[in-house]
Amino acid sequence: MAVCVAVIAKENYPLYIRSVPTENELKFHYMVHTSLDVVDEKISAMGKALVDQRELYLGLLYPTEDYKVYGYVTNSKVKFVMVVDASNTALRDNEIRSMFRKLHNSYTDVMCNPFYDPGDRIQSSRAFDGMVTSMMIQVC
């Protein structure tokens, strides 16, 4: 279960960012922002090979004391970043992959909507919101 989910556009501005409501949400935003550098690094490292060979799932970008940050990049350079709680050891890599896949599918559904302007913030799609909510940690 994620603590924060973010969708970053190709130009590295956020299309969608949502985190579990805590007192200091800004730190999540900061973590996502810094993770973008790592994402770029990973992309460019594989960039020598064909783009097709590059896997979309980037894996653990960097761990911190409390959190772990995972990354995923689409072929159109749209990045998904997910911050999970480090203490949640039960979370397997496959689960993270499946979560990213769900995110990707929801994102493409949003893209299919002709009223959505690519590059806009994703704010009108309730399906997308619902999907992200299902992924986030249920804070009672």
Partner: protein, 648 residues
């Protein structure tokens, strides 16, 4: 009851039903079973297999009834599971009663479980649509004879109208019927009467265009219930007139808007309008409207972009970025509803889902191709289809409902059966057989495929006529072996090629003559020289060796020379035997030969012209040659004269 309950429930505890409950449950069950046409069974929505046997309630009316209980879908699923219908595959009496009890429990706020049904519970409440009112009744209070527990709400505009007519009929014909006094055997009458009251209330609330939840209307109708016993006939008539006026207003208002109570149901007129709009955007009703086209179209509705985006999200069920016809109708309907002030629903209402829309509105023949493409995509979800089916049947039922009689229950069933029979050929709705989906699926594509293929064929035929006419001109109809196309092509090569394979009937004669002619065309320059310049036969022969370098013509010359000697004299007459040869009684051969003749004649003409030119050229060159010869002789003479002088 208890034994049956325990037997049916299996692991469940014995079901204790009070007398009132028993009566009303059995009535409900009879309704559900009767509505299905008796006997035939359908499984619960999840398992659509036929379970033959004892009295069972069809899942269609049962599903409708459950939905009318206003419980959320998950609760209904839970109830269906718990009552055992899922396990056994059909709604037997025990399952049905357990389900009803669970519904009552859920409505009372108790958790859905077997334990909750052990205690004493009020009767379940059902919000009935008009169809339900027709087919079955949910008013237990009638049996108790005390108070109306279940309000009846008409949820469709059409049903409003028809019900009004019905009520008027009923009221005029059976004015003395008062609800509470009526015997339990005629519940439908009772239903209709409170319905009329409900109508007046509803219409008042409707005019505010208030999409209030159904529960809000309950208090409106409930106080009406107890007062029904009093007024009797006169207020009914009065109500009818009121309702008539209201219904007229309603109709005027609802030209293109949705009806107030059930805004998510599409009427026929609306459907027609949407389909026309679809066709204006995309002529093929079975194809898709692309996202950009739809965006431009819907933006004209002047709704905000986020709302349009949300409507799209709701209506594009398969998220492919394009709208099929049912998706388009759903989207259009939502837009219309929104423009009329309705808040957009959280999820796509079942009546707007593509599968439902396909089933609900059987298309006329010319649009049947649409369903061919969708027949495979119909899901196993029977509920909306059942709902639709029953409603359609009930609408037809209403339409041809005869004079109401005392024994309405029997009439209901019969009318339903007749309506079913009528409906079957009309809109291919399923009968209550279990494999509804597959039947309808098979039936629809089968019948519609015929009409669709005929349409396609007609369309194709429409395109065919232009192409055939040119063809016969080029090719002869009967000739098989002779390819006159080649004959008609450049005559020189044709003549050179020897006029190709001649018709098998005339191989001996035309062949040599034709080949002669062909070769003669070649030889004309030489042959012309020969007859025209008879004196220059020697120079002609000389010319022949001069013209040797071009080897090909030489071969042809040599060949025909053998023949040319034979046919030199009748050069022009060669055409004669050829034509004579060709003039044979065979009409086909005649045609061919006449065409050949013409070809040959044109070839001859052209060759003659060429011959003339070449002959002139030849003569000129010969002249030059003579002169050159003479000069040479002169020079040689001079040389000889000069030589003796030098030789000393």
């Amino acid at each position: 009851m208890e034994a049956a309950a325990s037997g049916g429930c299996g692991s469940g505890p014995p079901l204790l039903l009070s007398e009132g409950e028993q009566q009303c449950y059995s009535e409900l069950f009879a309704r559900c079973a009767g509505a299905a046409g008796g006997g035939p069974v359908s499984g619960p929505p999840e398992a659509s297999r036929a379970a033959p046997g004892a009295a069972t309630a069809a899942s269609g009316p049962v599903a409708d009834l459950f939905r009318a209980s206003q419980l959320p879908a998950e609760t209904l699923h839970q109830i269906t599971e718990l009552c055992g219908a899922k396990r056994v595959g059909y709604f037997g009496p025990t399952q049905f009663y357990v389900a009803l009890k669970l519904i009552a429990a859920a409505q009372s706020g108790l958790p859905v479980g077997i334990e909750s049904i052990k205690c004493e519970l009020p009767l379940p409440r059902f919000m009935m649509s008009k169809t339900d009112a027709e087919i079955r009744f949910g008013n237990m209070a009638e049996l108790h004879g005390t108070k109306v527990q279940i309000p009846y709400l008409i949820t469709e505009k059409n049903t409003f109208k028809r019900m009004d007519d019905e009520d008027k009929q009923q009221e005029t014909q059976s004015p003395t019927m008062s609800p509470l006094a009526s015997p339990p055997s005629s519940p439908p009458h009772y239903q209709r009467v409170p319905l009329s009251h409900g109508y007046s209330k509803l219409r008042k609330s409707m005019e505010q265009m208030h999409p209030a939840p159904y529960e809000a209307r309950q208090p409106l109708v409930q106080p009406e219930g107890p007062s029904l016993g009093g007024p009797g006939a006169k207020p009914l008539r009065h109500q009818a007139s009121l309702i008539r006026s209201f219904s007229v207003e309603r109709e005027l208002q609802d030209n293109n808007s949705s009806y107030p109570d059930e805004p998510w149901r599409i009427t026929e007129e609306q459907r027609e309008y949407y389909v026309n709009q679809f066709r204006s955007l995309q002529p093929d009703p079975s194809s898709f409207i692309s996202g950009s086209v739809a965006k431009n179209f819907f933006t004209k509705s002047k709704l905000s972009i986020p709302e349009l985006s949300y409507i799209w999200e709701l209506s594009d069920a398969d998220c492919d970025g394009a709208l099929s016809l049912p998706e388009f109708c759903a989207a259009f309907h939502l837009i219309v509803a929104r423009k009329n002030g309705y808040p957009l629903p959280e999820g796509l209402p079942p009546t707007l889902q593509p599968e439902y829309l396909q089933a609900a509105f059987p298309k006329p023949k010319w649009e049947c191709a649409l369903f061919d493409s969708y027949s495979e995509s119909v899901p196993a979800n029977q509920q909306p289809r059942d709902l639709n089916r029953m409603e359609k049947l009930s609408i037809k039922d209403m339409a041809d409902f005869p004079v109401p009689t005392q024994d309405v229950t029997g009439d209901d069933k019969q009318a339903l059966k007749s309506a079913t029979d009528e409906a079957l050929p009309k809109d291919m709705s399923e009968d209550s057989a279990t494999p509804k989906d597959s039947n309808s699926l098979k039936a629809r594509p089968r019948s519609r495929s015929y009409s669709s293929t005929s349409i396609e064929e007609a369309m194709k035929r429409g395109e065919d006529p232009p192409t055939p006419p040119p063809r016969p001109q080029k090719t002869h109809s009967r000739a098989s072996s002779l390819d006159l196309n080649k004959v008609f092509q450049p005559s020189v090569p044709a003549s050179k090629s020897g006029l190709l394979p001649p018709p098998p009937a005339l191989p001996p004669r035309p062949c040599p003559s034709q080949s002669e002619q062909a070769s003669e065309a070649e030889l004309h320059p030489q042959l012309n020289r020969a007859p025209s310049q008879a004196a220059e036969s020697s120079p002609a022969k000389k010319d022949i060796p001069y013209s040797q370098p071009p080897s090909k013509p030489i071969r042809r010359k040599f060949r025909p020379e053998n023949q040319a000697t034979e046919s030199q004299e009748p050069t022009t007459a060669v055409g004669g035997p050829a034509s004579v040869a060709t003039v044979k009684p065979h009409p086909t051969v005649q045609k061919q030969s006449s065409k050949q003749k013409k070809a040959i004649q044109t070839a001859i003409r052209k060759n003659k012209e060429a011959n003339a030119v070449l002959a002139r050229l030849n003569s000129e060159l010969q002249q030059q040659l003579k002169e050159v010869h003479q000069e040479r002789i002169a020079l040689e003479n001079q040389l000889e004269q000069l030589r003796p002088v030098t030789v000393l």
